[in-house]
């Protein structure tokens, strides 16, 4: 008895390892996805070790170095590699600390909308009936508003701050997870293995979370990467409109908002924060494309 249990554990671990190996095989075939993964890992490292890597404090204002151009330009100083902003703060240091903001925003928003979306989607797909109808109509209502507009209005209600912005963005991203989970649950619910689990006495919670959910994860993972990049873009847009992170936070969108009036005089204060947003979002989207290809059985050419 103990023996069979042991072999079962081994084989499921082996199976998992084999699935991972297979996943990596398809993922690594996509060169862009691997590049995206490397850039993303580098960003995580930069964010975690920001205090070690950054040459200056992100808030320190060097009064003798206002709007210094990047080091390689005439008038640039090697102490400020990417130049300084209008109050003499080192742009490179602010960008490095800004990575913390963006990655945290992505993680927080995605976690919030993913867990909320899965819960609501499971309930809608499992119970159907009027519960389902009410939930789906509610999601339709949220989807009727452009995400940025809804976020803007919610922030107008709750007051401009990064936390409120993140909650608002999570709310606007949630319906996609609800729809995906619901559709997957409805497709899986009638399968034989679910019926077998039900007959052997599994309760609704076990059925929902242990039996059905693990088989719906592929589209959710892909959607989660999309949400991650969308959250970063939307939060930066809110910051740019003055409705997200508030100055002097070194959030990339907020930095762009502060730099707007200098665009024709000092291109570097505008260029680098935006470039940082673009590179981050691009890396995540590249990974997302790779994940979609690796997880979608239709794309596999075995």
């Amino acid at each position: 008895m103990a023996d069979t249990a042991k072999t079962q554990v081994v084989s499921s671990a082996a199976l998992r390892r084999q699935m991972l190996a297979e996943f990596w095989f398809y993922f690594s075939e996509n060169r862009g996805a691997v590049i995206g993964l490397f850039v993303f890992v580098a960003l995580v490292i930069v964010a975690v070790f920001a205090s070690v890597i950054a040459p200056h404090s992100p808030f320190e204002q060097y009064r003798d170095a206002v709007l210094v151009p990047p080091a390689w330009l005439e008038g640039g100083r090697s102490a400020y590699l990417l130049g300084t902003d209008a109050v003499g703060r080192d742009i490179l240091s602010r960008l490095i600390y800004g990575a913390q903001y963006s990655l945290f925003i992505g993680l927080f928003v995605t976690t919030l909308s993913l867990t909320g979306g899965i819960l609501v989607g499971l309930i809608a797909g499992y119970y159907r009936g009027w519960v389902d109808t009410v939930i789906m109509r509610l999601m339709d209502i949220i989807l009727a508003f452009p995400s940025l507009l809804l976020a803007l209005v919610l922030v107008a209600i709750l007051g401009p701050s990064l936390t409120n912005g993140m909650i608002a963005i999570a709310l606007t991203l949630q319906p996609h997870f609800v729809r995906l989970t619901r559709a997957a649950v409805m497709a899986e619910k009638t399968r034989d293995y679910v019926t077998a689990a039900r007959i052997s006495g599994a309760g609704p919670f076990r059925l929902m979370f242990r039996t059905i959910l693990p088989n719906c994860t592929a589209p959710l993972i892909v959607q989660a990467t999309l949400s991650f990049s969308n959250a970063i873009l939307d939060a930066a847009a809110l910051g740019f409109l003055g409705m997200g992170a508030q100055p002097p936070a070194p959030e990339w969108g907020t930095m762009l908002a502060e730099a707007r009036e200098f665009i024709l005089r000092a291109w570097w204060v505008v260029t680098f924060p935006g470039l940082a947003i673009l590179i981050t979002v691009l890396a995540i989207n590249l990974m997302g494309d790779g994940l979609r290809d690796a997880l979608d059985p239709k794309m596999k050419r075995s």
Partner: protein, 334 residues
Amino acid sequence: MFGFLLRRLAVLIPTFIGVSIIAFAFIRLLPGDPVALLSGERVMSPERHAQISAQLGLDRPMVIQYFDYLGGVLTGDFGSSIVSKTPILKQFLALFPATVELSLCAIVIAVVIGIPAGVIAAIKRGSAIDQSMMGVALVGYSMPIFWWGLLLIILFSGILQWTPVSGRISLMYFFKPVTGFMLIDSLISGQKGAFASAVSHLILPSIVLATIPLAVIARQTRSAMLEVLSEDYIRTARAKGLSPFRVVSLHALRNAMIPVITTIGLQIGVMLAGAILTETIFSWPGIGKWMVDSVFRRDYPVIQGGLLLIAGIIMVVNLIVDLLYGLVNPRIRH
């Protein structure tokens, strides 16, 4: 088809009621006194407070207030701005053409470039052309458009001095709006250079607003074409000896367009969100900038009305897209 229309409307009506409840509840959810928020008067005597409260109907039960509000909305009464005291619908109608003009130009750019790009990428799958076009599309898709707009301003308005930085037309020209579309109005006015000025003001905002829809349409067209090109009837068409152009344009593209139409429709919501940023950057006097300005001015009745109007427009556009989809793809009607 008629049954399909009825079914779609049956879904639309509860959604609209929900949206109107959200817009109605919005003012009541705000921290602070709705009487002060809706009248814009910060300090008032208790008598004045009671008078305004009665005047705005805020002393009555919530349910009656809601039906009052809904009744007003259905007859075109969205209330008035606190700041300018003008009716919200009037403001909206004055600004809406500017946003429509901008969005139409953007969607034309996105479709005219995006669909051919997607088709070429699909035909030349795996080639350098395909890879570079899809690379560019992914960059466009990941673009923070507010930054993209600023970059274009630096290049074309700052360094090259080709285009103006903001507005819809040079201050030199003045004429009465006939259609609300600056391109048409400037032509009608017959003033020399007016049309050119309108075009030069429109071009950068259109490019910025078109960026993300263009990338999405190109990617969607490519994947739809790839799917269709592997179908048996395409092989049959090729085997019959039809020219590659005929196969692609007549057999493949037609069927590949079905999902692309939905994608284009879905971009309308994306565009209205994009208009918020684009219009702010270029000081384009449309509804996106109107909403942002109202949020800053704490003009709550305008935010409320704008929210409802924009959601209503998106819902109507989505309905039209759904109906078009049903028209080109009869399978979906059931």
